[in-house]
């Protein structure tokens, strides 16, 4: 078996996941990226979306995350998320709630730049909602 990536998923409430995996796909603000072992150090914010974790045994896990950032350092990948829910537990209602939140944010946004960013996240969520 090839080298493994040390992956940690942390929410403010607790450490959700800490294991060695093959790779993780992260929805970065400027585009999705996949982190494999020996990835160059990156610090990126994330938009609401789904991370895909390919576990050591080959099993794939999908987790919905919202708000936070990803840090890749030589030791591995750390994902700080404000909220993380396994895809299996994500219901349309949760998504609806997030969409509603974001819609309010769009309305309240103080600058065009911010509005554009929030709008983008909103569009992405809507796609996800339709795909569910």
């Amino acid at each position: 078996m090839a080298e493994l990536l040390k992956f940690e998923l942390v929410s403010p409430e607790k450490l959700l996941m800490s294991e060695d995996v093959q790779y993780v796909t992260v929805p970065g603000t400027e585009g999705d990226f996949t982190v494999m072992p020996r990835h160059a150090p990156v610090l990126s914010t994330i938009r609401p979306g789904v991370i895909t974790v390919l576990q050591d045994g080959g099993g794939e896990e999908r987790i919905f995350i919202r708000g936070g950032f990803a840090e890749v350092n030589p030791e591995g990948l750390t994902l700080l998320a404000e909220e993380a829910v396994p895809m299996a537990d994500v219901s349309r209602e949760t998504l609806d709630r997030h969409i509603k939140d974001l819609e309010e944010d769009v309305a309240d946004a103080s600058s065009d730049e911010k509005r554009a960013r929030v709008q983008e996240a909103l569009d992405h969520l809507k796609q996800l909602h339709d795909a569910l």
Partner: protein, 296 residues
Amino acid sequence: MPNLKDLRNRIASVKSTQKITKAMQMVAAAKLRRAQESAEAARPYAERMETVLAGLSESLAGRDDAPPMMIGTGKSETHLLVVATAERGLCGGFNSNIARLAREHALRLLAEGKTVKIICVGRKGQDVLRRVLSNQIIDFVNMREVRRLEFSHARDVADKVIALFEAGECDVCTLFYSEFKNVITQVPTALQLIPASIDSDDDAPSKPDASLAAYDYEPEEKELLDELLPRNISVQIFRALLENAAGEQGARMSAMDSATRNAGEMIDSLTLTYNRARQAQITKELIEIISGAEAL
């Protein structure tokens, strides 16, 4: 000579008080364990956040375009104090210690001619501060209904702070809470939120400066900071609230422990008095009977 019935009543009432304090102590002990666990579970997030921010702020240090949330507005006219206390009393000096620290801070600022605004989180702190600083309290966050502290609660508070800051209604923001050292020690603490106080001398386990410099930032450092700083405020508030929750239970546990002990001592001394009084009465009755018999 107190009468026997009164004494009996008093003993009974102290006993029932003791039962209550004993029960409260045990409830606090159980809650303390849970609160401590969640405080510990939240630690990794806060630590990572700190490490990342420390690295970022280092690389941005000295630049003029650093976000105001980090370097401040350049003034220190209006101070915003966020005072986090418990919702319930009966926990020793826990609430009053935090409130006292905040009050002294506020009065000192007022004496210097600054404007002070206060947001109270938790009812007990508001009760105390209202007496002296009622005009300064601008908002009150009720946590009474909160059964289990969640991140969203902290975010609500943080949103208020950020909104005030962005509207230019405060220059410096300080958070007051009680640091949970251990079950019997809680240290009232003031933590500056805006401008962010990032101690670079912290003993965070891994902070290799060289590798931090090599990071690719996506998006740019400045934008990243813009996004992270408000989040950091929520994280700090969340941590403070968790520490408070654990501290409150710890303080209540030790307060109730000594209350139970005091009640025990009181029962002992009351029982002693009661027995004396009872014996005195018996002796008195005997004397009456004997002297009655002799008179015949």
